[in-house]
Amino acid sequence: MPYSTEAMARRAAREIPQGAIVNLGIGLPTQVADYLPEGHAWLHSENGLLGTGPFPYEGDEDPNLINAGKQTVTVLPGGSTFDSATSFAMIRGGHVDLAIMGAMQVSTGGDLANWAVPGGKVMGIGGAMDLASGCRRLIVMMQHVTKKGEHKLVRACDYPLTAARVVSLVITELGVFEPTGHGFKIIELAPGVTREAAEAATGAPLV
């Protein structure tokens, strides 16, 4: 049984040390927050919020208190708000301990591609390049292959890069993998997933 998205989020939450500053990307990575014990880590939203809390109770939502995905959120006691230049000084300056992001491709060298599909609609860069090159550790959380079954863990990215040599760990429904330069080291496989199945779904050697 491959990991469910919930199991992937739980697994990613285990990578977050007590007291860390963490930025969770839009989409799947945002769910990681649901599996962090209360008070475990500080969530940073690049639009200018540290100490991001859960969604507000119905009736308490404030359109001027949002996360980077533009969802209404709350701010926890001890949290702070600041301007975009300060927020990206936190990111670029290496003050954010960990970022968890989605990806379209990750290479064996740790290159990340997650902002544009060749020939596709350009959605923009947002904070992805700053986060990928600025945070101290980057974990990717994604489906192991595309909807069409194409490899996403590859020898070299052929999608436009977000940043080079930045990914430390990749969590997919098939397991947890570490880019090593020549291939992906299997840290663990999801229960019931065979090495052969993981190899078939990966566009580079598993080591």
Binding site: N64, T72, S133, G134
Partner: protein, 238 residues
């Protein structure tokens, strides 16, 4: 003789926007639809200026905010970091009506901060080894590669504040601060739209988020739509 910081409070949005001209570069604060100077955005369309270059993180969304400028056909260029679901921008970018320059978000903020701080260019690690590097100087400093990014100036900045005093000292609300301070500092003329206008002295000097030296005009707009982009809530425990 009147200095630049005399009598900043103006009676109307139209009066605040009177100095605008065709072809100007205008920065507009906001992250998505949050922290938008809504009345000034509407006022620019009514002012009738055209061929503008807009600097904004998103240039509106869901047909709201700065999407009104796109629909009014008054933009020739947009400098932004993210388009996402902004169909008004997608269609005009695809047709070639509006030229779009996409910049990493942190680089966009820092280019404006640098402009306001008198720094003409800076080296940043963001974008090294990507398409953002194209046409830019790359330099290795202490073993790491950096891009040279240039400061970004504007003719006008339109910003949204929660509270302003008569000198233009500003306070912002929650995540509505975003690009507003850097934009105000990077423009020759910075116009603030505030929810609350108070007398000088009502904001403690230690509580000022953006000092009034960066603001040239203040217009009081008590009512705002404050549109939700994604209204996400949880059930209240009973």
């Amino acid at each position: 003789m009147r200095g630049r910081h005399d009598q900043k409070v103006v009676a109307s949005v139209a009066e605040a926007l009177a100095p605008l001209e065709d072809g100007m570069t205008i920065m507009v604060g906001g992250f998505g639809l949050s922290g938008n100077p809504e009345a000034l955005i509407k006022g620019v369309v009514e002012r009738g200026v055209r061929d503008l270059t807009l600097v904004s993180n998103n240039a509106g969304n869901l047909g709201k905010g700065l999407a009104q400028w796109l629909r009014a056909g008054i933009l020739k260029k947009v400098i932004c970091s993210y388009i996402g679901t902004n169909e008004d921008l997608h269609t005009r970018m695809a047709s070639g009506e509006v030229k779009v320059e996409i910049t990493p978000q942190g680089t966009l903020a820092e280019r404006m901060r640098a402009a306001g701080a008198g720094i003409p260019a800076f080296y940043t690690p963001t974008g090294v080894g990507t398409v953002v590097e194209q046409g830019k100087e790359v330099r290795e400093i202490d073993g790491r590669r950096y891009l040279l990014e240039r400061a970004l100036h504007a003719d006008v900045a339109l910003v949204r504040a929660h509270t302003a005093d008569r000198f233009g000292n500003l306070r912002f609300w929650r995540t509505a601060r975003n690009f507003n301070p850097a934009m105000a500092s990077a423009a020759k003329l910075a116009i603030a739209e505030c929810d609350h206008l108070v007398d000088n002295g009502a904001i403690d000097p230690d509580d000022v988020h953006l000092p009034g030296i960066f603001i040239h005009k203040v217009v009081h707009v008590p009512e705002h739509e404050n549109a939700f982009e994604f209204r996400t809530v949880r059930k209240r425990p009973t």
